[in-house]
Assembly symmetry: C2
Homo-oligomer: 473 residues x 2
């Protein structure tokens, strides 16, 4: 069933207050990857918890232990759990989101201060780090709660919340917590959950809402090549010694070619070629080469064929070289590059990668030393979209946006998705709020005001559509 | 003729004062490559000028104009000129040195603060940025001046000084100044100069003094590959677009291999293979594979054959990859690597390098954009060591060190060397003060106290040996 008209009206009438809510959240620079900002992640957790409490949600702040970051021992930010409704005749929906953000500095090229929500009245864009990833969406849920609280309308489903503060840094501590809760059975926080809804990705383009049923995994490697005991002057040592930089560049050049083809034997082959039928799915998506070029800011698509480009993102493994640490004048001690491999369906790609790099390094015949580290990663995930939760989201999208949603798979990873799917044994839906050009993790991240407001309506409406059938239907 | 005993005694007796002089100079962080420290380079120029004046040298501070650095317009540090003696019956020696230094920060791995001269009493080492490159040597000349001034002994030759403050940053402005002075003929500052002596390099090892008669040139390129308009998330764009980082790594991997061989066709071939006779010169030098490994801090020599390794440094071209600017998470806008090519005798290698990189880039078939910049460089230089100035330095070395000097060529570049040789048409001698493990441009740069003190004696004695013949001999 559609959401009550009062709810939709409330959302439109409280636009300014909702934007102010997002502005308050963006002002807290909750960067999980920077020890300097760890306290801000805790502040952001408290902010979110108090918002939930204000609208009648029972909350719990769960410590997740400590970890080491940049040589410092730090407390992990807590998971913020929430519970509202316990009606056995209603379905129970678990909502996940994260309140940490990527780093951002004005000097990276931001047009506005990244931690001050800045409105562009002419375009309706709300600029700020975290506006789209993922503060906008989690506050969309808070907006839904406020509407029901203030209007004194009961929620159509029971809700459980699980918000974390380490998503941008490998979700440390969360998997263990979820698994431990599930082990508790009836006493666990997630007992009775019928489906999971995550709003932490984006439309494929800037026009068409989508439902997302697959994510690539990620494995992240760090390769260090070392040799001399200190920086060396190329005038004094050039062509006398093995230079780690030369070896490292040689290794990195053997991983992927300019066209995106992965050169590690067996990796591309792990994914079956698409059948003509599967290709049709990609042909039908509302997407064009112009879309990718607009969002990338350059005419740099790997192909002129839309389906090929979309399959590159959604179903093929990809390998990106993320840089080399340090800039210097000689043959420096350590080279510290990072390489990220996005993969589909084969979580055991890592040994293949490591043994390939080792064997290529041996071929160089260098006296440098090689260390390969397997850093944080995320598992790939594909969901069954022939499920009542997807059907509910489909109807809700048609009601709010008057458009048929695209059904997409995504290139990025949200590590917890598969954990929920496996540990809870329920369907997981990705229901994005933002657009394809929002620029998550990039400079000038934004959320369109219309996506924030209509998105809030969408999230609320989704709950009513989920409730349409009685429990178990 | 040997130097007077009084001079040698004065140097030994003033060891502490001389070290204090070096300490005062090291305390001025005269980093020419950093706009923040430009004022310190000017301070260092004044310090040096006042020292010269104190010992009777007529000086002149010559403005060299302005330039742009990191987007700022800056005044270039002045050249400090000096003149003492005008006796037509004496030879006239021109001394060159530089008072600017490389950057240094404690966090780079220095054991002591880099801009405080720190004595290790047990080893006799004097640690500090510029101690060996090139403040120690230029103050060695000041020590010689002080000795003659305080002892009231006339100098055996006429001296001219030319000290600059931009050597570590491409000697900007200096060539033009020298050429303009030479054009003035009789009125030019360098009129009447019979030979040039430069103390700005190092012994080949830690045991044997040397005279240096050749330097490799340097050409320095910056390659920028760009594509997208902003940082891109590898999860969203991986395998959809051409990634500049992939293209850049591919290009860099095609320049040099792990064994040091230059892959740009024609570059290695520009230098003739060594005859068996020339090979013998390298075999005879007091050098071992252990020396290179000790100074590099690792067992990383390219060969077990001493002559091969030495020829790699002294007569072969070498190509070092100096890094990639930036560390990041996505396919970033610009990649900004630097590549330095040390070459011998073929200053016209640049067009070859540029057209090779361009053609390799075309082969990639990428839609990224390539820009190659040819940054500062230095010309290669080889001198005739069968000259009275080298003979004088040879005798002076035997008198002070009781050792026969090595005759070496060097891997590094001192751009002004060739300018002096060509513009003045006189012999240029490189007479180093420091040892092969001093670590110029590296962390923990040092000068051994004995090199500073005996080196001061060597420079003074060299002047007496030059004076041995009457002018014109
Ligand atoms: Zn996110
Ligand atoms: Zn994110
Ligand atoms: Zn120098
Ligand atoms: Zn230097």
């Amino acid at each position: 069933m559609p959401a009550p008209a009062d709810f939709l009206k409330f959302v439109d009438g409280n636009e300014e207050a909702f934007i102010q809510r997002l502005a308050s959240a963006v002002e807290i620079p909750s960067i999980s990857g920077d020890p300097v900002h760890r306290e801000d992640v805790f502040r952001m957790a408290s902010f979110l918890e108090s918002q939930l409490q204000a609208y009648g949600v029972e909350t719990k702040s769960v410590p997740l232990g400590s970890h080491e970051l940049d040589g410092q021992k730090l407390q992990l930010p807590p998971a913020i759990l929430g519970r509202i409704g316990n009606d056995k005749s209603k379905k129970t929906v678990l909502i996940y989101g994260h309140f940490d953000v990527q780093p951002a500095e004005l000097s990276d090229g931001w047009t506005h201060p990244p931690f001050k929500l800045t409105r562009d009245e002419s375009t309706g864009r709300l600029y700020g780090r975290g506006s789209s990833d993922d503060k906008g969406p989690i506050l969309g849920w808070v907006n839904v709660l406020q509407a029901h609280h203030d209007l004194k309308i009961p929620l159509p489903v029971n809700l459980r919340f699980c918000f974390e503060g380490m998503e941008e840094s490998g979700s440390e501590g969360l998997d263990e917590f979820i698994l431990a809760e599930v082990k508790k059975g009836k006493d666990g926080w997630f007992d009775g959950v019928d489906c999971v809804c995550i709003s932490d990705n984006y439309w494929l383009n800037t026009r068409t809402p989508c439902l997302t049923y697959g994510l690539r995994g990620l494995t992240y490697f760090k390769i260090t090549v070392s040799g001399p005991g200190k920086d060396l002057h190329s005038g004094v040592f050039g062509r006398m010694v093995y230079e780690p930089m030369t070896d490292l560049i040689a290794l990195m050049s053997k991983l992927v070619d300019s066209s995106g083809k992965i050169l590690i034997p067996g990796v591309d082959e792990m994914v079956q070629e698409a059948s003509e039928e599967e290709r049709q799915i990609y042909e039908k998506l509302d997407y064009s080469i112009k879309d990718v070029e607009e969002s990338a800011g350059g005419s740099i698509a790997l192909s002129d064929d839309k389906a090929t480009v979309l399959m590159g993102r959604m179903r093929s493994p990809s390998l990106s070289l993320h840089g080399i640490e340090g800039a210097f004048y000689g043959a420096r001690q350590d080279r510290d590059p990072r390489e990220g491999l996005r993969e589909v369906q084969h979580p055991n790609v890592n040994p293949l990668v490591i043994s390939y790099i080792e064997s290529e390094f041996k071929k160089l015949g260098s006296k440098s030393k090689l260390v390969i580290e397997d850093l944080h990663g995320g598992k790939p995930w594909v969901e069954d979209y022939d499920h009542w939760s997807y059907a509910a989201a489909w109807r809700a999208t048609e009601e709010i946006y008057k458009q048929t949603p695209d059904l997409t798979r995504e290139g990025g990873s949200i590590p917890v998705t598969l954990t929920f799917a496996e540990a809870l044994g329920v369907n997981v839906l990705l229901l994005p709020m933002g657009r394809g050009d929002d620029g998550a993790h990039s400079t000038n991240e934004k959320l369109d005001k219309s996506n924030y407001i209509e998105g809030t309506k969408l999230l609320g409406t989704y709950l009513y559509e989920v409730a349409e059938g009685t429990k178990g239907q």
